[in-house]
């Protein structure tokens, strides 16, 4: 079945070999699986997948040998490229004894090698929408005068994004880093997808992995049972964007039970401000447990204006509030911030509490504010 899928991807799995040193790696336990990829009628090459000793995929790489041609002269470029399992370019290194040169055959300086990494790491590069003819004056390695019009950037900005004397090399290599092989890598990784890989992706620090895995474990808002814990970890994780994404993708049911709501409150306390706002907005359509309602009631006056408003809105959306929650709210009517207390009073009024202690506090508040 696996080999069938690979065929569909127009790839051919060629060999699986243990290597001692491959493409700059020295780890003895890395295995390599090679996939033949025909990009078009004239270009084909091996995409290599590194696996650990148990056969788990680690990353992709290619030993690239490509010509970089000017008018009448081509020079061979040898370089090793590395991608993560979803085809996101990560880094490059040079095969032993190989170097990169500029148009005048001068070798790259250390800073040129570093700049090349920055250039290749930039997915939204000016190279994305350009052809070589747009970029340089034909037959030279000089930036074309009209490149600013094509890119919308100033010539100065463009110069920052290329290496002087190696514009063609930068362009050729960037196109490889973000080329057609990327999709093939994703397809290969699909064939390795199992619960273990999804767990590994969800708890990784690679947001590409996390988004990719989330799409697979959250369907129509429902989180597959074995991954609930992982999703919690994404929501309480350090990357605010994946956290917010996970929060938005999960359905309301995920947060309906008391235990999960208690966990969410803990996550709220530790979250950054924008995520706290996202959590409060998420809760608006979720019935609150007694415990959470009470905690929110207690927090409402300790928060800033925006959060207090959202919290009191949340409580206002609940059909009933427990006596304890109402008591917590009533106890806060003596807060000096009248914006807060006015909202609390309105909320209490809406719930028409029968408790004498509460009605007394409300009466006192009303009297002192008239």
């Amino acid at each position: 079945m696996r080999s069938l899928k690979v065929c569909i991807f127009s790839l051919m799995c060629i060999a699986l070999a243990s290597v001692k040193s491959y493409a700059g790696m020295s780890a003895p336990d890395i295995k390599v699986k090679e996939y033949f990829f025909r990009e078009n009628d004239t270009t084909s090459y091996m995409i290599k997948l590194a696996l650990d000793e148990s056969g788990k995929p680690l990353y992709f790489f290619r030993n690239i040998f490509t010509p970089v041609c000017y008018t009448n002269e081509c020079k061979p470029v040898h370089v090793n490229f590395y991608w993560d399992l979803l085809g996101n370019y990560t880094r490059y290194d040079m095969p032993e004894g190989k170097i990169l040169t500029k148009v005048d055959h001068e070798e790259f300086k250390q800073e040129d090698y570093e700049k090349l990494q920055d250039i290749l790491a930039k997915q939204n590069s000016i190279f994305a929408d350009l052809e070589m003819k747009d970029l340089i004056t034909e037959g030279t390695d000089n930036l074309s005068d009209s490149v600013d019009a094509k890119t919308g950037a100033t010539l100065k900005t463009i110069k920052n994004e290329v290496i002087d004397g190696a514009v063609y090399t930068c362009f050729t290599l960037w196109k490889i880093a973000y080329g057609k092989a990327v999709n093939e890598m994703k397809k290969i990784t699909e064939t390795y997808t199992n619960d273990e890989l999804l767990h590994q992706f969800l708890i990784s620090n690679n947001h590409h992995y996390q988004y990719w895995a989330m799409e697979k474990v959250i369907r129509n808002g429902l989180v597959k049972k074995p991954f609930e814990n992982d999703i919690e970890k994404v929501i309480s994780g350090k990357n605010i964007f994946t956290a917010r994404g996970a929060l938005q993708q999960t359905g309301n049911d995920f947060f309906s039970d008391t235990i999960r709501q208690n966990w969410l409150w803990g996550a709220f306390q530790a979250a950054s401000y924008p995520l706290q706002i996202a959590i409060l907005k998420k809760l608006i359509n979720i019935p609150l447990s007694k415990t959470l309602a009470e905690k929110i009631a207690d927090q409402a006056v300790k928060s800033n204006q925006e959060q207090s408003r959202l919290m009191l809105n949340l409580l206002g959306e609940q059909p009933t509030l427990s006596l304890q929650t109402l008591k917590v709210l009533a106890a806060q009517l003596d807060n000096e911030n009248t914006d807060y207390t006015n909202n609390i009073y309105s909320l209490l009024e809406k719930h028409k509490p029968a408790d004498k202690e509460i009605t007394k506090s409300m009466q006192q508040y009303k009297t002192s504010n008239n």
Partner: protein, 600 residues
């Protein structure tokens, strides 16, 4: 009987009021501002300037002043401030001290971003003269508008704009008849590149000119306060004479946001203006009031952004080079803000529906690499970034921009600037704390606290320049300034929108190349205010055409044309429109640099 009781009560209250002693201190009038800076950008919504501790995360030196009291005794103290980044609590913390004794309360962290008076408790004033100080605690833009001492314990100072403005006016002893700054042939409001060039051009044409600028420097977006480089060509002009004054203003191209302030030549610009015998320069003066007779402006009133003293400027002609079209707005000139629809203008680049979308405002910044490692605090109150999304740059360029229709360029200038600051500090904090290998030795060298605005009101003239005028290269008989910049209409960068939807701070653009074209003179004077010219981004264009005319060398040349036109208007005692209708050949001759035919 009831009426009598009420009357008695009112008399008693007024006696009580008149018995009150208020000592009102505008912070911008502090004698020694220490490291605090004066911000007048929100004058239109606050009726005042304020002081701000802009230290880029390092506490600034105390601001101090001497306050005189009518009598010693107990006073109630009120401090007018805000929490500029209440997410949930902002960083702009400061304390106030009286004769070295700090009031315990820390200001600027209330969680509310409304400007209001905060009760600072009671102070025992033991001498008729005390030293008042504001101590910045963080360097993160704490701000204070005013401090009030009152011996009436129950008095609460007003927060509503109208009442507050009246209260200020009374306590600042401002009258309806400010002292005269003089009578001028031409009053230019706004000392950016357009205004400065207009003033110089008019002055060299023999007019007596007042140049009024609301900052301590000239040059506007090209000053060291904002640091945008000059764009638009001056070497492709239909009338080569234009651009001479712009060249004088040009200090070379240091790029956008260069960390070296001197590159922008503030002092040189001021010295050029001071060298003009016909120009009276009024820096630090914000024009907020206009006097009119029917549709003719007779005078403008400006308030000093530091001393709060007011001046009245009378003039024959007035030129709006404010960028915001402030003068036009005050005078009731027709103006437009936002985008027109395709149906309205017939422009292919216009929006489908008219809306409030404008280009944004930039607060540029730059860092410098130092010899040693430095730290920068975490900034939970700022925008939050992660490895997934941050801007991996050591300085800003034009893309750092906020306010694409989601904020009003004029009335929300403070919120726009603050949003820019939250983006800058949040991103910088991320780089310093999570990308140490690259940024450990970098330090913020400069962050603009004055917003560099792109788009605001466009004043309607006798002609509204549009996309077709530009792309078809129409040459009208009154074609004057040659413009060369692309139609450069910014929009939120799509990736930035994905991560900060509705809170974008990073822009993209698409340059539509144009062949050099000319801007008709009729775009440079108001349609309905008879004696008002305009130059700069606020001239009469559509939103789309503005995308090309808005760059500063082009704006400067508009100023040059206005100066020439004003001299003809003065010579023939006519209006700016009169110059177009009756003296256009002579204006064109001036633009051509032709000398007069032999005179009898």
């Amino acid at each position: 009987m009831k009426i009598n009781t009420l009357l008695l009560l009112l008399i008693l209250i007024s006696i009580r009021l008149s018995a009150q002693n208020h000592v009102f201190v505008e912070t911008e009038s502090f004698e020694d501002k220490g490291g605090w800076v004066t911000d007048q950008q929100s004058f239109v919504v606050m009726g005042s300037s304020y002081l701000m501790a802009h230290g880029m995360g390092r506490p600034v030196k105390d601001a101090t002043t001497t306050v005189r009291f009518p009598k010693v005794g107990k006073y109630h103290v009120w401090v007018r401030t805000k929490d500029w980044a209440p997410f949930p609590k902002g960083p702009g913390k400061f304390q106030v001290s009286i004769d070295g004794n700090p009031i315990k309360q820390v200001f600027g962290e209330s969680g509310s971003d409304e400007w209001k008076w905060y009760d600072a408790g009671e102070a025992d004033i033991k001498s008729d003269q005390v030293k008042l100080a504001m101590k910045d605690l963080t360097g993160f833009n704490g701000r204070c508008d005013a401090i009030l001492f009152t011996d009436s314990p129950k008095f609460t100072p007003p927060n509503k704009l109208e009442e507050l403005t009246a209260f200020r006016k009374k306590l600042l002893n401002l009258t309806d008849t400010p002292s005269s700054a003089g009578k001028f042939d031409m009053v230019v409001v706004g000392g950016g590149i357009a205004g400065t060039c207009a003033a110089i051009s008019a002055s060299r044409s023999g007019l007596k000119v007042a140049l009024i600028q609301d900052r301590p420097v000239l040059g506007g977006n090209n000053s060291s306060e904002i640091r945008v480089h000059l764009m638009g060509d001056v070497d492709k002009n239909h009338y080569p004479k234009l651009g001479r004054i712009v060249r004088e203003m040009d200090n070379g191209d240091p790029g956008n946001g260069n960390p070296d302030a001197k590159e922008y030549g503030d002092a040189r610009k001021i010295s050029i203006v001071k060298g003009e015998k016909n120009i009276s320069l009024f820096l630090n003066t914000h024009v907020y009031k206009v006097e009119k007779q029917n549709d003719i402006i007779t005078a403008v009133i400006g308030r000093n952004i530091g001393t709060n003293q007011e001046l009245r400027f009378e003039g024959s002609f007035f030129t709006d080079c404010t960028g915001d079209g402030t003068l036009a707005y005050l005078a009731g000139a027709e103006f437009r803000m936002g985008r027109e629809s395709k149906a309205e203008t017939g422009e292919s680049l216009a929006a489908e529906k008219a809306d409030d979308f404008t280009l944004g405002t930039s607060n540029l910044w730059a860092s410098l690499e130092k010899d040693s490692i430095s730290s920068f605090p975490e900034t939970p109150w700022a925008l939050q970034f992660s490895d997934e999304y941050h801007i991996d740059k050591c300085k800003a360029d034009w893309e750092w921009e906020t306010g694409f229709g989601n904020f009003n360029t004029i009335t929300q200038a403070e919120q726009i600037r603050d949003h820019n600051l939250r983006a800058i500090y949040g991103n910088w904090s991320y780089l310093k704390n999570h990308k140490k290998e690259k940024y450990a030795k970098s330090e913020l060298a400069w962050v603009a606290y004055i917003g560099g605005k792109r788009e605001s009101r466009r004043i309607i003239g006798d002609h509204i320049l549009n996309q077709m005028d530009i792309q078809e290269g129409k040459f009208y008989p009154d074609g004057s300034v040659t413009a060369t910049w692309t139609i450069d209409l910014h929009f939120p960068d799509p990736k930035n929108s994905k991560y900060f939807e509705g809170q974008e701070f990073f822009a993209g653009t698409k340059h539509i190349k144009v062949a050099p074209y000319t801007i008709p003179y009729r775009c440079l004077y108001s349609k309905n205010i008879q004696n008002m010219f305009m130059a700069g981004r606020n001239i009469s264009t559509t939103h789309v055409a503005f995308g090309s005319t808005r760059v500063m060398r082009t704006c400067g040349m508009m100023g040059e044309v206005v100066g020439f036109a004003a001299s003809l208007a003065a010579k023939y005692k006519t209006t700016p429109r009169g110059v177009y209708e009756h003296h256009l050949p002579e204006l064109v001759a001036v633009l051509k640099g032709e000398t007069l035919a032999p005179q009898p």
